[in-house]
Each structure stands twice: as structure tokens, then as C-alpha cells.
């Protein structure tokens, strides 16, 4: 190929200087010059070559960095061809040259990979990681929350005592001591803390009609403690968040926001898995204690009753499985896993005392 006219900037002034440019293919150097400048040469191997549509820019040298601008389309083609056939082209450039279709494919593959690791690998790893979290962490986390909670809520100490007595009569398959607290509130709910505190609101107790329902509730909550659901949840949320922020730190805000919300929705599904486990293991606890399992489906009816005012939230947005679905699978379990139960008079008596607001005789 013959020499061509190009533009040269010497790195000292902004004056565009017209030069003749020629490539010495054999020695991998380029030679450029003009009557005013004389001739100079430089290795093409340590020059930075960037290609913009219809323009090739060669930068070389350090202080000052000099620039050569070539806009001859034929010559650019020739130079590019020379670079790629002689392996001078960087691997990065090769990846760029794959073209937009391959790039879209790469993008979709990465997204697929992320989805797979997010939905399958991550929950598994996170649950395994829970073993590494010492039990004392559960106690600390739960204990601190409990301290705050009782400061801002009114405990019904008489009922708390009765509930403790009620729980004494039951077996929970629990490796740790459980503590039961009744809090005065209209809220129709109960919850468990990782340190073994189980809190029941009077709103829910008032709706209950049978001690079996209370056994079902305590069994459910005790399972949350036994299975360390809180810490599992925390592990998964943190690892999910880490994965998302690691992968998307480079991406733009919109994708990041979408992914962040996806994480939120997915962790709800995850917690629903925990609720289901708590229901089913709670059922086991009822079985061990020979309590009528219908208490569990009745309990769900009470919850449904108590939360009637609420608009029914679609299942994928709700942390608990929708009540109807729960009733369905619990009834199924009762049918398939039939066992003999008997009326427990002691429990019945304490339950009635709780309901009547009087100490058991």
C-alpha cells in the first residue's frame, strides 16, 4: 500500500499538521513526515489505535502524547486488516468485533446465569451458611428486639403466666427454651423471635374458640424458632442483596431498581416457604401432643376472620400463603396423616381461664 496524507498533532500545540503516512509492514512500524517536520517513525505495536466510524486515530508516545488522524476509508480498511491478520489486534477488540447480535446473546446469557444462580444456587448456599452463624447471634438479635418491643407495648402479665402454664403442658421438639408473652392489642396475629420469645396478641386470643387452635398457633411459631427461620431469611436477604449489587454495580439505575424489587418480591416467596414449613411442622407438634389437628384449619379461619377488613392481597405479594391455600393444604395433611387424638382436659382448662381472664383453679 502506498503512503497517504494524514493529520498529525505533535502534543505541544493544537495546530493540525499535514503529513505523509506509510506503514512498514515487515518491521511493524509506521513512518510519517513532512518537509517541515522531517521524518519520524514509531512502532505500531505500542501505539493505541482507536477506530471511530470513518476515522482511525493512532496515539503514541508519552509526554507529549502524539496523535495521527487518518480518514481515508480505503487505508483504514487496509490498516485494520493488517492489524487483525498479524495478531496485533487486542483480544478486547476481537470481543468488540463480534457484532451486536453476539453481544445481545452474551447479555442474555449473563442474565440467564444470574437468574439461575439467584433462584437456585443462592438459597441453597445461604441456608448452608446459617450453620456458620452461632446460636448466640439468634439470642442477641431476638433479645434486643424483645427489649424494644416490650418497652413500647403493654404486656398482659396474668395471661402471659397462663400461656406459659399452657405451653408447659406441651412438647415442642425444641432444643432451646421458649418464652411466651401475651401483649394487649387488637392485632390478630402472633410472632416468634429467634431467641425463643413467642409473642401472641390478645386480638388473636380473643377470636380463638378452642384450645386446639392455640396449640396449632404455638406449634407454628415454635417451628420458626426451631428452624432458625429468621437467620435463614437474613442470610438469604443479605446474600441476595450482595449478589445483585455486585453484578449490577456497573449497570444503570433502572435495571438495578427492577432487580432490587425482584429481590424483595422473591424474599416474600421465600418467607412463604418458611410459613408452609412452620405449618407442616406445627402439625407434627400437634400430633406429638395428640391434639385434634382441626385446630389448625380453625386457626386459619380465625386469622381470616380477623383480617377481613384487609383487601385480599394476591398470593405472590403476600408473606404468608393466602389463608384459603393454607386451609387447603392443612386439610390435605390431616386427611393423609390421620392420627388418634384425645381431649386434653388440662389444656382445655387453662385455655378457658385465658379466655375468661381468670387464673385456673
Amino acid at each position: 500500500m502506498q503512503d497517504i496524507k494524514a493529520i498529525y498533532f505533535d502534543g505541544n500545540s493544537s495546530i493540525a499538521q499535514s503529513i505523509d503516512f506509510v506503514l512498514d509492514e515487515k518491521n511493524a512500524i509506521f513512518i510519517f513526515g513532512s518537509p517541515q517536520l522531517g521524518n519520524a517513525k514509531h512502532s505500531i505495536l505500542d501505539a493505541k489505535i482507536s477506530n471511530h466510524s470513518g476515522l482511525l486515530i493512532i496515539e503514541f508516545g508519552t509526554s507529549p502524547i502524539q496523535t495521527i488522524k487518518i480518514d481515508d476509508a480505503e487505508y483504514i480498511k487496509y490498516l485494520k486488516n493488517y492489524l487483525s491478520t498479524n495478531g496485533i489486534q487486542t483480544w478486547y477488540q476481537k470481543l468488540i468485533n463480534l457484532g451486536v447480535k453476539v453481544h445481545i446473546l452474551i447479555a442474555l446469557s449473563i442474565l440467564g446465569l444470574i437468574a439461575v444462580s439467584y433462584f437456585f444456587v443462592l438459597p441453597f448456599v445461604a441456608e448452608q451458611a446459617v450453620v456458620l452463624v452461632p446460636k448466640s447471634y439468634d439470642d442477641k438479635m431476638g433479645g434486643e428486639f424483645y427489649q424494644h418491643f416490650v418497652e413500647y407495648n403493654e404486656i398482659d402479665s396474668a395471661k402471659t403466666k397462663q400461656l406459659e402454664a399452657f405451653a408447659q403442658k406441651l412438647q415442642f421438639n425444641s432444643s432451646q427454651k421458649l418464652h411466651f408473652t401475651v401483649v394487649k392489642s387488637d392485632i390478630v396475629n402472633a410472632f416468634a423471635l429467634p431467641d425463643g420469645h413467642i409473642i401472641v396478641f390478645t386480638g388473636l386470643l380473643d377470636l380463638m374458640q378452642n384450645y386446639e387452635e392455640l396449640v396449632a398457633l404455638l406449634g407454628h411459631e415454635a417451628t420458626h424458632v426451631n428452624e432458625r427461620h429468621s437467620v435463614k431469611m437474613l442470610c438469604r436477604n443479605i446474600s441476595g442483596y450482595l449478589l445483585i449489587s455486585a453484578i449490577l454495580s456497573d449497570a444503570n439505575g433502572v435495571i438495578a431498581t427492577i432487580a432490587d424489587n425482584a429481590n424483595g418480591i422473591y424474599s416474600l416467596t421465600f418467607s412463604r416457604g418458611f410459613e408452609r414449613e412452620a405449618d407442616l411442622k406445627g402439625f407434627e407438634i400437634m400430633k406429638v401432643n395428640k391434639v385434634n389437628p382441626n385446630g389448625m384449619s380453625n386457626l386459619f379461619l380465625r386469622l381470616k376472620e380477623g383480617n377481613k377488613i384487609d383487601i385480599e392481597i394476591p398470593e405472590f405479594l403476600s408473606s404468608h400463603p393466602v389463608t384459603d391455600a393454607r386451609i387447603e393444604y392443612v386439610n390435605e395433611t390431616i386427611k393423609n396423616d390421620f392420627y388418634k387424638y384425645q381431649t386434653n382436659l388440662e389444656l382445655k382448662k387453662i385455655f378457658e381461664a385465658i379466655k375468661n381472664d381468670a387464673p385456673p383453679k
Partner: protein, 324 residues
């Protein structure tokens, strides 16, 4: 006779054109290849990725048909990344140690003051690095601001903003902007920004109010006003000659840009990000006019090289979005 010659040189208007020549598919390729390499290397490729992307964006921008160039390298930014990492490890270390020794208040105080103090340092470092690594026709830009002075502007701004429940914020933002821009050099051309806090305050107040009563529709016109305010207050000087910047952006233009970008992002689930960036750059380049009489053939190299990218990386950590 003599007088006419002087008049002629002073009055002689030059032509300047800004342009952007990047395409969505090129930028998309860079973003995706970078993404792939970043994922494979568990994030370590990030500094190189950033250098490639900046290099593309600068290289695609032109003034009078000559391209800008970004010379920053992944290696420089990686070194900066390590230094930035150390700074943050130390800050978090102080916090953790203080919690362990039950001196939380002291620890949090140091932590937050440290964080706040880092912001001006990061801005300073970012401009110093970016400007020095940017060139046009081989002539480097430069930032000559003093760290201590910027720190002073920043501290004064924060304190007065707190005292005036945020009202001073407009003056603060403009003081910061003026300080930074007035310290930018392009070879022997000096930049100047002369944005007044009071005008900005009125602009913000008016925009906020009108956007509110028009249910947000006015916000596009508001954006075009703020854009114009920023741009029109920037000028460049060399000896007795100057170039003034002028915005030609309109509210309708912003409306088209933003709604279009939004549509692209939503319809492609974010993958069309590259195309929105190209649209935005095109919009900016097409909506800034330069008028004046500086001869662009007479710029000479004056600025030193500065290759420490720590500030750039601290800005990344802090999520400061620093644009030129």
C-alpha cells in the same frame, strides 16, 4: 488603517461545532463486553471497563471535527481503586472498633465527618484526574483548583445550608460549580463559570412551583432552563479573546429525549441503555453552541499530567455522579 486591523482581529468570529458520533450498537458492544469481563473476573475488571467506556464516549465527541480523547487507563484506576478501598476500610474499621469498645458516639462522629470530608476530596481528585487525562488535538485539559479551597467552599456551604434550612443550598451549589469550572484549563485557554446563586434559587423555586401545579409537565421546561443556566454561564478565555457557550435546548426537546429514553429502557428491559446514552450525548452536543473569536489552532500545551485516580475511585464508592 491600524485601527481597522485590530478591530478585525477582535471582531472576527470563528466557527465552532460540537458533535457526537457514537452509535448505540458500538456502545452496547463495549458495555456488554465490559460486563462479561467484569462478571468473569468477579468485578476486578471494573477499572479497565470504565476506562474503555470513557475512552469511547470521549473519542466519539468532537469539536470542529477533531475528536476528544481520554487517556486514563485501567491500571491507573485500579491503583486508585485500591487506595480508595483502603480509605473506606479504615473508615469502617474505626466504626467497628468504636462499637466493640462502646464508644459508638465518637466512632459514628468520626465516621460521618470522615465521609462528609471525603466528598470534596473526591470531587477534587476526580476533576484533577479526568481533566488531565482528557485532550483535544493532543492538548490536555487541566484542573488547577486547590484542595484546601474547595474544602473551604464545601464546609462553608454545608454549614450555611444547615443554618438556613437548605435555602443556601442554591448558592452552595453554584459556588461549588463556579469554583470548579473557573479552575479548568484547556491548554492556555481558561474556563470560567459565573452562575449566580440568587438566579439559580429563583429558577429552582419557580420550576418547583410550576412543575407542581402542572402535575410535572413543566419539569421538562424546567430542565431546559437549568441546562441553559449551566451552559450559558460557562465561557472560555485566552488573552483578550473568548468563547461563550449557549444552550439551544428546549422544553419540547427535553420531553422527547426523556420520554424516548424511558420508552427504550422499558421496552428493552434496560438493555437499550446504550442507545439512551447515545441519544443523550447527541442531544447535549446538538444543543450547545459556541460563539467567539479564539483561534483553536493557537492552543498550546500547558497542563501537567496527573495520573492518580484515587479521587475518581472514591467518587465511585460514594456514588457521586460526576459529569463534565
Amino acid at each position: 488603517m491600524e485601527q481597522t486591523t485590530t478591530e478585525q482581529t477582535v471582531e472576527e468570529q470563528k466557527n465552532y461545532t460540537l458533535g457526537f458520533h457514537g452509535t448505540g450498537s458500538e456502545l452496547f458492544g463495549i458495555i456488554i463486553v465490559n460486563w462479561l469481563l467484569t462478571v468473569i473476573t468477579l468485578g476486578f475488571y471494573y477499572p479497565w471497563a470504565k476506562a474503555k467506556q470513557l475512552s469511547y464516549m470521549f473519542g466519539a465527541t468532537s469539536l470542529n471535527n477533531d475528536r476528544f480523547a481520554f487517556h486514563g487507563t485501567g491500571k491507573e484506576m485500579f491503583k486508585g481503586f485500591i487506595k480508595a478501598l483502603i480509605i473506606f476500610v479504615v473508615l469502617y474499621g474505626i466504626l467497628i472498633v468504636s462499637v466493640v469498645f462502646h464508644m459508638e458516639i465518637l466512632g459514628f462522629a468520626i465516621f460521618y465527618i470522615g465521609f462528609l470530608g471525603l466528598i470534596p476530596l473526591a470531587i477534587h481528585g476526580t476533576y484533577k484526574y479526568r481533566m488531565s487525562r482528557t485532550s483535544w488535538r493532543g492538548i490536555r485539559f487541566g484542573y488547577r483548583g486547590e484542595r484546601g479551597q474547595l474544602f473551604g467552599v464545601f464546609i462553608k456551604g454545608i454549614l450555611l445550608s444547615i443554618l438556613t434550612i437548605g435555602i443556601y443550598g442554591s448558592w452552595f451549589a453554584m459556588n461549588l460549580r463556579n469554583y470548579i469550572f473557573s479552575n479548568i484549563k484547556f491548554g492556555n485557554i481558561e474556563f470560567k463559570s459565573n452562575a449566580r446563586g440568587s438566579s439559580y434559587f429563583v429558577l429552582v423555586l419557580k420550576g418547583y412551583f410550576l412543575s407542581f401545579i402542572t402535575l410535572g409537565i413543566y419539569s421538562f421546561w424546567w430542565m431546559s432552563e437549568i441546562f441553559a443556566f449551566y451552559v450559558n454561564n460557562i465561557s472560555m478565555h485566552k488573552d483578550d479573546k473568548e468563547i461563550r457557550l449557549k444552550s439551544t435546548a428546549t422544553g419540547v426537546g427535553f420531553l422527547g429525549l426523556i420520554l424516548g429514553n424511558l420508552l427504550i429502557i422499558v421496552l428493552t428491559l434496560g438493555l437499550g441503555f446504550a442507545w439512551t446514552q447515545v441519544r443523550t450525548m447527541n442531544f447535549i452536543a446538538n444543543n450547545i453552541e459556541l460563539e467567539g473569536n479564539i483561534d483553536l489552532d493557537t492552543i498550546s500545551q500547558t497542563e501537567d499530567e496527573f495520573t492518580d485516580a484515587t479521587g475518581e475511585d472514591v467518587s465511585d464508592f460514594l456514588d457521586l455522579d460526576i459529569t463534565l
